[in-house]
Symmetry: C2
Subunit: 327 residues, 2 copies
DNA sequence: CCAGGGTCCGGAAGCGCTTGCGAAATGGCC
DNA sequence: GGCCATTTCGCAAGCGCTTCCGGACCCTGG
């Protein structure tokens, strides 16, 4: 039995008789033989390896997406190479200009980061299919929920419950280098308020990063401010919303009797806090992203590079943190 | 200028005149040339790639360790390939018997998982240096805090505060396939209680997985049970502790007036809940693990395979969730 | 001025696989 | 049973680097 027959039997199974293939597989199993990844990559040009780029793993959303990607890629026999750049511009440059150029990847998935034109160009120069999840205005075949609509929906939920004085916490991007999800959500909020003819004064907005701690601080600011107190708060993400709930409780407010709170994400903690939220199934987003990139990679030399956005499912999950306001 | 000179100039810089090296580097920079990773791996046998194995990314501890590893490896020009197996034994088998055998890795780091003898053997058959963090009785060069001591320390803190009736929540391993951190912490608890001559009846123990939700449920069970109510709770991890705090509050208990709570980990949320805990700096553990594995990999052909355990730092962080019991 | 020793560079042989191409074998049909 | 169509297999040429080895060159000291 020749080397080439073994290779064919193990790889694609075509062009080789069923019986020989079975013999080969049996022998490989017995010897514990698995073809060397680097050698087969070098020879075939296929890496069986997808890169995942993301700013940091500090948010629940991102690690959920990552988990979804990891499990899906694993199922298909692909490796997943992880690149993070914790707010260091230099590390980020290195990823694009050193690591990606080593040509170990068949494609990349980016999580909640917008690429600069330079980076996008680099990707196409390398002829690497890419898809991004959790970014808003990425340039190549983005996979994203429409954050503006999401925020509008959340705000409309509060308005439908008769709230008129609604505060918003969020809007602080990741140091500007990443995606503009916070900005989009703020815009959605404004749109909904405007459409309902409601004012959205600056005094009812408080900036915060996407963490519980920041949400807690911001909510205290917002609620402690003299002037008209909001009867409801739209938090840009669940972490902030949970922080807001804790802050409200610490200040003596009852949720939802005194203040309604709504978030976005479907965080694992949201159920515990009975948080009304918009679930966007991040893990499933990761799985979807992985499947799409695999399709792109397998597709005969990316002739059919998808460019249209793929809309993602989301779902208003009404729990106990929002309630009708009686006037 | 010949190919071999370029290779030498880019790789090790020795055996090549400074001036030529500079010329090569300048040219590479200008052309955006970076040597193909697979080709150089195949030729040299070095992969510049470390594998990270872990059960799932669902715990804060694990993603913190991962973040530390990722940033350290990136700084040294190494790729990080991530393998997870969400409780599926088959996936886990595949990782060890397919993915690792592809020989794309220079070494592996395992996070909070114990390897079966079969798996350990597989690793040494592949001559892969390995180090594990967050596991207790791993077999190769483990890097771990002594979970028994940690738990003893936490319990002793409560005892020193005059508590005599102390409950414990935890002890539920990850379906038995992973590491025995929960068991170790339970043992530490028992040891401390016994040493202080205090009883630790079954009624004061409640099993729980390492999540906030499970902690919440378990704490309600523990506190709702008729009979002697504990004045303090030692939670096996911060997630459980936070769940316990929330549960206690929901039941109307005040923390720490009515019940003291201590956890282990140093979770990002622990400050918000004023949780007394034992910080074990997981991110730093990840960085350390990465540095050690790089040492192992670089070391002239693993002649000096470390086998002794490396003790890790930890620190009792006393916050507001524990207080002296006046009798 | 020449020998000797260093330094620096180029040639060439792989690393372990994939795959196009042609040869061999197999099977079906008249 | 012979011939063609079809399947199945082996040969060999790479894939893009690394690295051993020998040769060219330069400098120094005698």
């Amino acid at each position: 039995m020749s080397i080439s027959t073994v290779s064919r039997a193990l790889n694609r199974g075509d062009q080789v008789a069923k019986s020989t293939r079975e013999r080969v597989e049996e022998a490989a199993e017995r010897l514990g033989y698995v073809p060397s990844g680097v050698a087969s990559s070098l020879a075939s040009g296929r890496m069986r390896n997808i890169g995942v780029l993301m700013p940091e793993m500090d948010r629940w959303f991102r690690s959920s997406v990552l988990a979804g990607i990891a499990s899906t890629l694993g199922k298909h026999g692909y490796d997943l190479t992880l690149y993070t750049f914790a707010s260091s511009a230099e590390q980020r440059r290195d990823v694009f200009h050193k690591f990606l150029r080593r040509q170990r990847l068949d494609g990349v998935i980016t999580i909640s980061m917008d690429m600069s034109p330079d980076e996008t160009q680099e990707l196409s120069r390398l002829r690497l299919p890419a898809i991004s999840v959790g970014g808003s205005n990425s340039r190549r075949a983005p996979l994203s929920v429409d954050d503006v609509s999401l925020a509008r929906l959340a705000t409309e939920h509060l308005i439908a419950l008769n709230h008129r004085v609604i505060g918003h916490i969020g809007g602080l991007g990741d140091a500007g280098i990443n995606c503009d999800v916070p900005g989009d959500r703020q815009r959605g909020f404004s749109q909904a308020m405007e459409a309902a003819g409601l004012p959205a004064p600056a005094s009812l907005f408080e900036p915060a990063e996407f963490t519980i701690e920041a949400g807690l601080r911001a909510a205290k600011q917002l609620l402690g401010r003299p002037g008209q107190r909001p009867t409801a708060i739209f938090a840009a993400c669940d972490e902030i919303a949970i922080g807001a709930i804790i802050a409200a409780q610490q200040l003596g407010y009852r949720i939802p009797e005194d203040i309604s709170v709504i978030g976005i994400d479907g965080h694992e903690l949201s159920e515990i806090y009975a948080l009304t939220t918009i679930d966007q199934f991040p893990r499933r987003q990761g799985e979807l992203a992985a499947n799409l990139i695999l399709e792109d990679v397998t597709a005969s030399d990316r002739s059919s590079a998808r460019t249209e956005e793929t809309a993602l499912p989301y779902e208003l999950a009404v729990r106990g943190s929002t309630r009708l306001l009686h006037d």
